[in-house]
């Protein structure tokens, strides 16, 4: 962004063109007359290595001129910078526009001689216009006339973004302290904005490179709106004694008469460094106010008000230094107050209580940044006690108003929060439907279990037989182990138990409750012979000896003598047991 600060040319001493603008009988602008152009080197004689200016002055408006992109410079001549300016001069009885094209050149160290910039053609208001040729004489020892120099001073070269600063444009007096005014003062630079203060002009004695010289001084304020290193320079027209208004003259100066010599001057560039205001330590309510302020006590119109009655809160701030910039505080959001900020330049608020429950005005956060200390200054407006009477306003009105006051985004969120796999809702994902239907499988298992349970309850005989078969399998395995160990008594005891288990479902009864006769009843009912019944009796007789006075069968005398008989008995019991099991 190229910011050109154009300062309005104010009213000058008599005769004043601006005064004539206000007259009803206005003068005409010389646009229809034929444009003319002239060019000259300033100075016309110079030495190798000197800086010279080429000025081309065209009596036409800048917008109507079509300027060539490059001029036919002599060899090795390279312009250091170029600029252009426009001014409206009062000539005769009409306004005459004047546009100046200015080039700054450094003469190369070549042989002395006369160098000519040939004539060239431009277009002005659509008509061709010839710019005449001009010559520069380069000599070894050219007379050094003191040139007119435009100076620029800035109040500070290290600035914060948005901090106003002063730019002083100076034109030192010439020989015999002849002073000239400046017109069309422009400060050119990227990232700069004109300040609130208007231009102030004066003639005062300033220190010019160690020499006190009376100078024409124009003070203006600028505001940087871009951070980083910035460069600015000033340009202005000399205007003789056409001052922009009443002017204070300090020092002994000479004001020459006659027609002013409108000459476009440029200054050397000035560099400044701009940094953003720090984020650390920023207080609530920072609106961009720069400088150190002190606040007057806030003044409330009245502290006894009715609901809905507006009351004005007047604020006052004073800056400690010249270049302070006050940006008024923003109205805070409040559900109990409707707050309207005053129109600038007034600083205050109109407050409307929405309920009679409030006891004070809301605190209004506000702060400024002091560039000198690099810190924020708290200027919060404190609450003021009030008495509010009357019923509250309707709720919807209050909500609407609060919504209108709300106007800032939230800060960044530090934590991402709970994650979702995808934005696609589960309503559209088959996997989630499957998950939602998972309990159905549980219900199916439950139904199968209940069906089995009901069937078993309806068929107890089947359950008993199944349990008996299961128990018999277990007893048979134990029987085999006892037989392998040679435990004859154990074999007979297990055989008796197996016979009872096999016979129990037929009664039905608990196996332990059966006796030998009960088993024989089932045995005989199956149509078996009495010989096998005797085997059953013998088995029970031996097994029941555990209930006798000497239950230790293993130690009973004569057991070893009957071992072979016992083995035969166990073998005979096998088919009996198989038969009983087969009936289950």
């Amino acid at each position: 962004m190229l910011g050109i600060i154009r300062l309005a040319h104010g009213q000058t001493a008599n005769p004043s063109p601006a005064n004539w603008i206000l007259n009803t009988r206005q003068e005409t602008v010389a646009l229809s007359t034929r444009a003319s152009a002239k060019s000259y080197f300033d100075p016309a004689m110079a030495s190798p290595g000197d800086l010279v200016f080429l000025r081309v002055e065209v009596s036409g408006t800048e917008s109507s001129i079509s300027w060539p992109s490059r001029l036919a410079w002599p060899p090795d001549w390279i312009p250091l910078m170029d600029t252009r300016g426009q001014l409206t001069r009062y000539h005769g009885n009409q306004y005459d526009p004047l546009t100046t094209y200015l080039y700054e050149l450094k003469i190369p160290k070549t042989a002395p001689g006369q160098y000519t910039l040939p004539a060239f053609s431009i277009s002005c208001a659509g008509a061709p216009l010839q710019v005449p040729a001009t010559s520069l004489t380069v000599t070894g020892d050219s007379p050094k006339a003191p040139p007119l120099e435009l100076g620029v001073e800035v109040s500070s070269r290290a600035l914060y973004l948005g901090q106003p600063f002063r730019v002083r444009v100076l034109l030192p007096a010439g020989p015999q302290n002849q002073i000239q005014a400046l017109r069309e003062i422009h400060v050119i630079g990227k990232g700069l904005m004109s300040g609130q203060d208007s231009q102030r002009e004066s003639i005062q004695v300033v220190n010019d490179h160690g020499t006190l010289r009376p100078s024409f001084v124009a003070d203006l304020s600028l505001i940087p709106i871009q951070s980083g290193p910035l460069t600015l320079f000033a340009q202005a027209y000399t205007a003789g004694r056409e001052f922009g208004g009443p002017i204070t003259i300090r020092g002994r100066v000479t004001l020459s008469g006659g027609e002013p010599d409108y000459r476009l001057l440029v200054s050397e560039p000035v560099k400044i460094a701009v940094q953003p205001v720090p984020q650390e330590g920023q207080l609530p309510g920072f609106t961009g106010a720069m400088g150190r302020f002190y606040a007057d006590p806030p003044t409330l119109g009245t502290n006894r008000i009715h609901t809905g009655q507006p009351v004005h809160l007047q604020l006052g701030f004073h800056g400690y230094n010249e270049f302070a910039r006050l940006v008024p505080p923003q109205p805070p959001a409040s559900s109990d107050w409707q707050i309207v900020a005053d129109e600038p330049p007034s600083v205050g608020f109109t407050l409307v209580p929405l309920t009679d429950t409030v006891k004070s005005t809301p605190a209004i956060p506000f702060c400024s940044f002091d560039p000198e200390t690099g810190r924020y200054c708290d200027l919060t407006i404190p609450p003021i006690p009030v008495e509010v009477s009357g019923p509250s306003l309707p709720q919807n009105f209050r909500e609407t108003d609060v919504g209108a006051d709300r106007g800032s985004l939230t800060a960044m969120v530090d934590k991402p929060g709970r994650s979702r796999g995808t934005l696609v809702p589960p309503q559209c994902r088959p996997s989630d439907w499957f998950g939602a239907l998972m309990p159905l499988f549980g219900f199916m298992l439950l139904w199968l279990w209940d069906r089995r349970r009901r069937w078993r309850a309806a068929h107890p005989d089947w359950v008993r037989r199944k349990n008996a078969r299961k128990a018999l399998k277990k007893i048979r395995r134990a029987l085999n182990r006892a037989e392998a160990d040679g435990d004859m008594v154990g074999c007979l005891t297990l055989t008796a138990t197996a016979l009872k288990v096999a016979a129990a479902p037929h009664f039905p009864a608990q196996p332990d409750a059966l006796t030998c006769s009960d088993v024989l009843v089932q045995w005989m009912a199956a149509g078996h012979d009495r010989a096998s019944a005797a085997t059953v009796r013998q088995i029970f007789a031996i097994a029941d000896r555990r209930f006798s006075a000497d239950p230790d069968l293993k130690n009973s005398p004569g057991l070893e003598q009957h071992r072979s008989a016992l083995i035969r008995l166990v073998h005979q019991a096998g088919p009996v047991l198989d038969d009983l099991e087969g009936r289950l």
């Binding site: 709300r406 991402p416 994650s419 809702p425 309503q427 559209c428 939602a436 219900f443």
Partner: protein, 260 residues
């Protein structure tokens, strides 16, 4: 037993290696997790590097959609002047977490600043904004199976159901049927979208030369009605017209033909 041990060891080793490889692949060769992208975006935004921050937040949201990532993505886009993308991000944050006050507040502020109105929702769509889509589907499932359990389990386990079993079943069924409304609203809201570009032409016919009915601003809400070729029929405020799919984005990007 020893042979069994020899058999199990390679089996376990294989599966452990497979798991490690799988986790390494998911972590990605040099790629970052969603949380890492989020933290990176946060750091970049604090330095004022909002284009890079929004890219980081977008990566985080792609890998791990969270309300926080979308809120910050919206703020980063807003700072770049992308109102449409910012509002879209905040709407997605609200889609995930309807109770997220920051996303709601930011969207309201943005709409107030830009003087934009939100899309008109049907009554059941409005009701569906009370809970997240996940909550609606699981509420429906839980209530359905609670009702079924209240009716079935007492009979199976205790032989008879009591009055309070019937009461629980009735309440659960009622909530189930009410939650179906929310689910329908979620499905309806899947067609809501946000205009991304500035002065997007809404055309009368689905052609590039179609008559322009209106130019939509960035951040305006719309409802997609149907698609035809390279155009979608959308409704924005009281206007219905055809819009190129690359000029808007749906809040729920997974819906049919919405990945623009």
């Amino acid at each position: 037993m020893q042979a069994l041990g020899h058999g199990i060891r390679p089996f376990c080793t294989f599966w452990i290696l497979a798991w490690l490889l799988a986790t390494d692949t998911s972590a990605g060769a040099g790629s970052m997790t969603g949380r890492e992208w989020f933290d990176r975006g946060l750091a970049l935004s604090r330095q004022g590097l909002f284009p890079e921050a929004s890219q980081a937040f977008e990566n985080s949201a792609d890998l791990r959609p969270t309300a926080g990532a979308y809120v910050d993505l919206g703020l980063a886009e807003w700072h770049q002047g992308h109102a449409g993308k910012a509002i879209l991000a905040w709407k997605r944050a609200l889609w995930i977490a309807p109770a997220n006050s920051q996303a709601r507040e930011n969207e309201a502020v943005a709409r107030q600043m830009l003087d934009l109105e939100d899309a008109d929702l049907l009554w059941y769509e409005e009701a569906s904004t009370w809970l997240s889509p996940y909550a609606w589907i699981w509420l429906s499932a839980a209530m359905l199976w609670l009702a079924a359990s209240s009716l079935v389990l007492p009979v199976v386990l205790f032989g008879a159901r009591r009055d309070w079993h019937r009461l629980v079943a009735a309440i659960a069924l009622a909530v189930f049927f009410l939650s179906l409304i929310g689910n329908a609203g979620v499905v309806g809201r899947m067609n809501l979208g946000v205009v991304l570009g500035e002065s997007v032409p809404l055309r009368l016919t689905p052609t590039t030369q179609g008559e322009v009915i209106a130019n939509l601003s960035s951040g305006e809400s719309l409802r997609r009605l149907r698609s035809l070729g390279h155009f979608d029929l959308v409704q924005c405020a009281n206007l219905t017209g055809w819009l190129a799919p690359d000029q808007y984005a749906l809040v729920c990007p997974g819906s049919v033909s919405s990945e623009h």
